[in-house]
Amino acid sequence: MKRLMLYLGVRNPVWIIPLAMPIVLYGTQTGDRALLFGVVVALVIPITHALSWPLERVFPRSLHLVPLLTIAAVLVTIAELVIDLSGVFAGPRTIVLLRSLVVSGLLLYPGSVGPGAVRNERFSERMLRIGATTAAFLVGFALFFVIRRVAAVPFGTFSDTVAGGFLILAIGRMTVSAVHRVRRGRGISS
């Protein structure tokens, strides 16, 4: 629970550590896309790390990204085939960004290259970190989507542009930092 709160707050993968900015900025433009990316992230990321954990023990240390990336590529390919077979028209850019989940930091960061990545960690420990990161991403993603839709009322299509997205991210980042500072008793601004 403490770990989940940490990832929801000061390590949030949307507001604080921008690991999957392309997906956040593109996926929140419409409700359909938000749902699609939310479901795929929630399924693909924990499964990738669960399958990759035993294989990482087999590969040498310098090749630790190989099993993770390969499994992620296979899972995203399967997700893509499922979307195709279910008759959902996703569009070329959606598919390309879905594929980019394979290499996005969100997918790989917690287990492999991020600060706090622990070598030879236990399976339960790894899955706890991945679960917390994924849950925090989904919460941040949903919040970003709601803010963007609300901002679209006064600002129109501007909120869907890259500039609009970054301004929302800046405001969100400031809010999280201010809340963190207040909680630590240091006031809003230094």
Binding site: A163, G165, I188
Partner: protein, 198 residues
């Protein structure tokens, strides 16, 4: 399709940071200073040209010809991994005492969404194989054109007398928003001279 139109389209009209934001990782630290932004843009551009060309050729000659498009993601991942680990290995042989440097930056290059997305888009957007490196170089130039001004604006904001809450990552986001607005206007200017290809 002229080379100039292709280059301008890839670098400005379809800018990988300011129009689409395919993203470089880790973004706020990449735009920490203009020098670092230029170095990362140069390194990513080099990888981009090589990976896009190899992937484009494999895609055109094998995947598209034998209807194996569903293997695109896996193919690109294998090319990316093979390239980066080959570079690390060669660097280790050529300069054994400096081999830690490429090994440290290998994940950064592998995990860059820009490399992945641009390489994947090029075979569908560009008609001739010989133009693949030009399109990739254009995307790399677009990365440079975005990262260096953003880093300069960020540095300026960090040194200005502004509230503390606006410094750090927030200044990077504000700098990106400002540069993205600027490129929209530059795009309109270019559009009056040259029609983008896609």
């Amino acid at each position: 399709m002229s080379v100039i139109a292709l280059f301008v389209t890839a670098s400005l009209a379809q800018n990988v940071v300011l129009v689409h934001f395919f993203g470089v990782w880790p973004y706020p630290s990449v735009v920490y200073s203009p020098r670092r932004g230029a170095a990362v843009a140069g390194a990513v551009a080099l990888v981009l040209v090589w990976v896009s060309t190899v992937y484009g050729v494999v895609h055109r000659l094998f995947l598209a010809r034998f209807a194996l498009e569903y293997l695109e993601t896996l193919t690109l991942v294998l090319i990316l991994l093979g390239t980066v680990y080959a570079v690390v290995r060669i660097a280790g042989l050529v300069a054994p005492y400096a081999r830690a440097v490429p090994a440290r930056y290998a994940p950064l290059l592998i995990l860059n969404t820009t490399v992945f997305v641009v390489a994947m888009s090029i075979p569908e957007s560009v008609e001739r194989i010989t133009f693949f490196p030009v399109a990739a170089l254009g995307a790399g130039a677009g990365l440079f054109l975005a990262l260096v001004p953003i880093a300069a604006i960020r540095r300026h904001l960090d040194r200005a007398r502004i509230p503390g809450v606006l410094r750090g990552d927030v200044s990077a986001y504000i700098a990106t928003a400002l540069t993205a607005l600027a490129i929209q206007q530059i795009d309109r200017l270019v559009l009056s001279v040259l029609e983008p290809l896609w």
